[in-house]
Symmetry: C2
């Protein structure tokens, strides 16, 4: 690659404030990566209110045909059901077959030589479960009744299982916890559990990984006493688990993710569009900056990813540049200055 | 009532160790309540392995016909799918129409005059959502496919909404947060949200309650910075939220619940059967003892409930009788002695 074409989809709310910081972080890398080319793309609730479509076809086409990877910001949800609106991020994951949502939750240790207290990865299946959005409403004897389908397939559970085993294998502890609720959902979560476990028997390398299981309710509880290494979970449990884990590292504002498929990767901060603080310039850009690093790591630019993460680590360690979510008074803009200076 | 007939269903694991402590707590109340009569009943995975049925018909009949209320311990889950086994607690909730699962999560303040740092109630719908257990498996192009139905009805959402508004109204803050994920599940969670909100417009008393909404993923995150008063949630979210909340008060071993319907109430500790510590006599009986108090409060024996809670509060405040989950070395048995002494 001579250049790296990166689609930028800030979407709604603070997504617009933090994605530019991720861009600055990538630009500051210089020759560590091929020359980055940024393509600005639109999607989100604001796009929907303006154009009637939450995810314009052009955005999808450009991502598919012109981009090597992408960064997504965050989307606002309408506070009431709006006919025709459907989450663009859920759609993008499906259209681009970004079947794995990888969410590392890592705390910053007091010094670079000390290990992080919290250091885990939530590997979330990203295409099915209740996110297939097959819902209908009927009228029953006692009023309205609504039903949604929760889909779990062997194929999707197997491929997310593989991804999780690979990630666990590359870590010192080599420990994988399969999250489910098969005491209630014996068929769907039973299939998820079995499919993930079966992955281990099919690849001798994976024998080195220790596998455990945990019911999702106790897993969310046990996360507090950090014991997990890699966790693999169906879509909705993974969504909840990763938000819960964010509390352990002080703020949702520092937790990154990538939506990864076999041919495309899209970074995305775990936080939402945060309408309560949007427009004040105080959104924490760390999650987006780290999402850029994660995306680059996924593409094989390990050194570049490392540089970004190290820079963020020292900034957080120094405690000079903390946004309000971390107890400080720093502005998003100050990150730009710091990133440019340190490049 | 001259006497109070209480069904005791310890079920599996530490349920057998903690339910007796709840019984002792009730016995120690003396004349504060009608003479308690205890009926020992069986259910659970052990019952299933012995008899082939997880919830014997006799248990259900005795609860329905002879009992004023009940206490349930905890059930073990088989580690692999076992044909014919189905969770007896999920079945009991449905059969007895115990549609509300009320889970107060309250920390003990350093002194009786200080307010509790954490003081919230998770009100969990207890009969539908994915717990209807309508699941099937088929074979598709790419292997096995499994589907589960998530059911949300206006009727169940309305009655749990009412319960939540009543509870919120009786508290100083009068604040209710409706938990959902309607950015993905616009039909099912949309119906839940609307039905709960509609409750307020139908009863002028409820105007005094401030209503907010939160997506389940951010709700689990935000719980950590205790801001909630009463939360009302569909079944599965409520299950996860209450376990997550337990981490805030130090241990799942202190969080009680009642499964409540219009004509019956069943106390149940929020923790599970804890096979890792079963048999060691170190299970924390506080959740069960508080569940007994909650059950009595629900029946109108406010003074008796208060006495039990106060006794538990002072024991925890003193820090003398802490089981290992709370960092101590106390045994379950020591609670019996303490309860008997203080009666
Ligand atoms: C916005 C929403 C649809 C999304 C999800 O639930 O996947 C978000 O919470 C996330 O985690 O990326
Ligand atoms: C045992 C299990 C079926 C149950 C549930 O999910 O309701 C438990 O976790 C609970 O919270 O009472």
């Amino acid at each position: 690659r001579k250049s790296l074409t990166i689609g930028l989809i800030p979407a709604d709310g603070i997504g617009k404030e933090v994605i530019p910081a991720a861009r600055t972080a990538i630009e500051a890398l210089g020759s560590d990566i091929p020359t980055p080319k940024f393509v600005d793309l639109i999607a989100g609730f604001e796009t929907f209110t303006r154009t009637g479509v939450a995810l314009p076809e052009e955005t999808v086409e450009v991502l598919k045909n012109d981009c090597d990877c992408a960064l997504f910001g965050s989307v606002s949800s309408p506070s009431r059901k709006v006919v025709g609106y459907s989450s663009p991020i859920v759609a993008l994951r499906k259209i681009l077959d970004l079947y794995a949502n990888i969410r590392p939750v890592v705390s910053v240790s007091p010094s670079p030589d000390e290990p992080s207290k919290v250091d885990m990865i939530v590997v979330r299946e990203n295409t099915e479960c209740l996110y297939v959005k097959q819902e209908q409403q009927t009228f029953g004897e006692h009023g309205k009744e609504a039903r949604a389908t929760r889909l779990i397939t062997e194929r999707a559970s197997t491929r997310i299982g593989k991804m999780a085993f690979e990630l666990a294998l590359a870590r010192p502890r080599r420990h994988l916890t399969v999250i489910h609720k098969s005491n209630v959902l014996s068929v769907t979560d039973g299939l998820f559990r079995e499919s993930v476990r079966a992955v281990q028997t099919k690849d001798p390398r994976f024998e080195a990984v220790t596998v455990a299981e945990q019911l999702v309710d106790s897993a969310v509880y046990r996360q507090y006493f950090p014991i997990y290494d890699v966790m693999v979970a169906p879509n909705l449990y993974g969504d909840i688990l990763s938000d819960a884990a964010a509390a352990l590292v002080g703020s949702l504002g520092v937790v990154p993710s990538v939506n990864a498929g076999d041919t495309f990767v899209m970074g995305e901060p775990v936080h939402g569009s945060a309408p309560d603080i949007f427009g004040q310039g105080i959104a924490n850009p760390v999650a987006s900056i780290r999402s850029a690093a994660l995306m680059l790591r996924h593409l094989g630019y390990t050194e570049a990813a490392h540089r970004i993460d190290n820079a963020v680590d020292s900034v957080l360690r120094e405690g000079q540049l903390l946004t309000p979510d971390l107890g400080g008074t720093a502005k998003t803009q100050e990150y730009h200055i710091s990133l440019q200076k340190n490049s």
